[in-house]
């Protein structure tokens, strides 16, 4: 087991064009030993590239990877002792489930006396004991995915287990089951796990820490709560939460930030340079308030546990989450923001702000 450190990783895929396009731009990141991480981001943001760099399937164009204190940038995949589970289940068709699980151990020359108990132990963990003698090709998708997972777990010396959207091809009702199995396994074996996904629910339920990526950059690392309350980038605000954060254009005057035609009572601590200043506030932190900004209610979606209300003010559309018990004001509705959770963003990145007295 090891702490994994990425130092200034950049990567670009070879292309015919003259211009070098970076799939990954300058990533430095520490993955603590034994952590459960989720790597969250939209398709094409470089998640899989980063994962493949960690496992050694790709060599980064620039930068170094350290396992504990050893530089492994030039080390081969198999020597890195990494396990990886792919999007589509990979099983060795002609082998039995037992042989599949034993394959990584046999390749590393372990004696039979060690292989057999180890395989049985892992099979028991994954509820595969009964199908050990069956041909792996005959299993269902989730069974196959368990085997790929098992091939990672079976090696007692793995430094980390990487998951590349492992539940994509699994039926919805089994997804939930397999996900909790993963969580349970993490607690059982305590290996570092990095879980790539574009599904925020998957990320937030699995991980202690979520790494959010966007266009080849890591935009925020944090606990699910931090991501929710303090999105460091408007992208995080958009991507996490349902519905996503409201991002509104604004400007400043001597009283601070003006938005939707009124002064919010918020100022930027250190007025910085940059073009676009925006206000971000989650729908959960917008509420009806008689003294607030006048709005027009466009539509109400009742989702059962709460209602999502779309309102319009000053030509801007906002979404707000209103508890089921609360009624929507029918005349002259006005709204306010919870200023503790209203953030300022300059060029997409959060800037420090404070409430004016």
């Amino acid at each position: 087991m090891a702490k994994i450190t990425l130092e200034g990783i950049r990567h670009s895929y070879p292309s015919d064009g003259r211009e070098q396009i970076w799939a990954l731009e300058e990533i430095s990141q520490v993955w603590e030993d034994g952590g459960a991480y989720a790597l969250l981001g939209p398709s094409g943001c470089g998640k899989t590239t980063l994962l493949n760099i960690i496992s050694g399937l790709l060599k980064p164009t620039r930068g170094n990877i350290l396992f504990n204190t050893d530089d492994v940038t030039e080390t081969t995949t198999s020597a890195r002792q990494i396990a990886q589970v792919f999007q589509f289940p990979v099983v060795y068709d002609t082998m039995t489930v037992f042989d599949n699980l034993a394959f990584p151990l046999k390749n590393r020359g372990l004696p039979k006396t060690e292989i057999i108990p180890r395989v049985h132990e892992i099979a028991a963990m994954l509820d595969l004991t009964e199908s050990l003698d069956r041909r792996a090709s005959g299993l269902t998708a989730d069974g196959k995915q368990k085997i790929s997972l098992g091939r990672g777990l079976v090696r007692s010396d793995v430094n980390a287990i990487l998951f590349d959207e492992p539940l994509t091809v699994i039926d919805p009702h089994l997804k939930w089951q397999l996900r909790s199995k993963l969580k349970q396994l993490h607690q059982q074996v305590g290996t570092t796990m990095i879980y790539v996904t574009h599904d925020q629910t998957e990320a937030l339920t699995f991980a202690d820490k979520v790494v959010v990526m966007f266009e080849g950059k890591v935009v925020q690392v944090g606990t699910p709560q931090e991501l929710f309350e303090m999105p460091r980038h408007t992208f995080v605000g958009h991507f996490i939460g349902s519905p996503g954060m409201n991002v509104l254009p604004c400007n400043t005057d001597e009283n601070g930030v003006r938005c939707l035609g009124v002064s919010l009572g918020l100022i930027e601590k250190q007025p910085g340079k940059g073009n676009q200043l925006e206000v971000g506030v989650r729908p959960e932190f917008v509420f009806f308030d008689e003294l607030g900004i006048p709005v027009r209610v466009n539509k109400v979606d009742d989702l059962g546990r709460y209602q999502v209300v779309e309102v319009e003010a000053d030509g801007q559309i906002l979404k707000m989450v209103v508890p089921e018990s609360e009624s929507i004001p029918s005349e002259n509705p006005c709204i306010s923001f919870d200023l503790d959770f209203t953030k300022l963003y300059r060029d997409g990145w959060m800037v420090d702000s404070e409430e004016t007295a």
């Binding site: 496992s55 050694g56 082998m95 394959f103």
Partner: protein
């Protein structure tokens, strides 16, 4: 896939059945007809029973050409299949060279068979051929028109030249359809190059290889034109394969009865081997 039961599907198959039956059944009946009759010319035929079959099955000439045929087919399968797999494994997976390789490799497949024979004839002739000159230049006495061994080597070499590409193309297509994740998983599991071949590539190639072997078996077992043009079946009868012998008997000597009987036996041999293959293939498919 579970298919719908639908008898009207027959309508779709009727044109195929009619066309193939016209070409297959009528000539086949003619052959069967000849095979049980004796003629003394003047279009007069007499019932001969299974006499011709007995005669063919007992004839040393038939045994010899069947044996030559089996030896030839076995040899070319043993050379072409491993060679084809090896070449396909070494081919680049992407880049501009892929098209170049594929086009050049497919070229021999589209040359008319007698041109292949003629080409190899002038290529291997000891006095005017490049190959013949080269081998003799190395101090080896080589003349495929007179030496049985040289004739065999040349015929096999010609077939390898002509048909290995089919195995290469099929194998290459099979290799290209293996998802990258399999190779990545193998690297993570620490598999050696041999293990990758044995446990990933070979199982995934199972189907295309079956097709390749089946096609190569059928075509090599029916081979006629290329060796006929190259060696004419000689020197002596050393490269007289089944088809060549058959044509010699039927059209050369006009012994219709024995030729027909031999045709049927020949056809049965091909059918039997293919049936064994076909059932093995289907059983394999049922398992996975």
């Amino acid at each position: 896939m579970n298919k719908l039961s639908n008898q009207r599907a027959w309508l779709f198959v009727v044109p195929v059945v009619l066309l193939v039956a016209f070409n297959a059944l009528i000539p086949l009946m003619t052959v069967v007809n000849y095979s049980v009759q004796e003629t003394f010319g003047n279009n007069q035929f007499f019932w001969h029973g299974v006499g011709w079959f007995e005669q063919v099955l007992k004839s040393e000439r038939f045994h010899a050409s069947l044996l030559r045929q089996l030896a030839f087919t076995t040899m070319i399968l043993l050379i072409e299949v491993p060679l084809g797999i090896a070449v396909a494994l070494c081919m680049p997976r992407k880049g501009p060279w892929v098209s170049v390789c594929l086009v050049l490799m497919a070229l021999p497949l589209l040359i008319p068979w007698n041109v292949v024979g003629a080409m190899w004839n002038i290529f291997a002739l000891p006095d005017i051929g490049l190959l013949g000159k080269m081998i003799n230049g190395l101090g080896i006495d080589y003349n495929f028109t007179q030496q049985p061994v040289a004739a065999w080597v040349t015929t096999v070499l010609m077939d390898v030249w002509h048909w290995t590409s089919l195995v290469v193309l099929l194998t290459y297509a099979g290799l290209c359809s293996i998802p990258d994740a399999y190779y990545q998983a193998a690297r993570i599991d620490g598999a050696s190059g041999w293990a990758v071949f044995r446990f990933i590539q070979l199982p995934k190639l199972n189907r295309v290889l079956t097709i390749a072997i089946l096609l190569r078996f059928m075509d090599s077992f029916m081979i006629y034109t290329e060796p006929f043009v190259l060696t004419g079946g000689g020197p002596g009868n050393t490269t007289t394969f089944l088809s060549i012998d058959l044509v010699k008997i039927a059209l050369g000597q006009f012994d219709l009865g024995p030729a027909a009987a031999m045709s049927l036996i020949y056809f049965m041999v091909v059918l039997l081997v293919c049936w064994i293959f076909y059932t093995a293939m289907m059983r394999n498919e049922g398992q996975s």
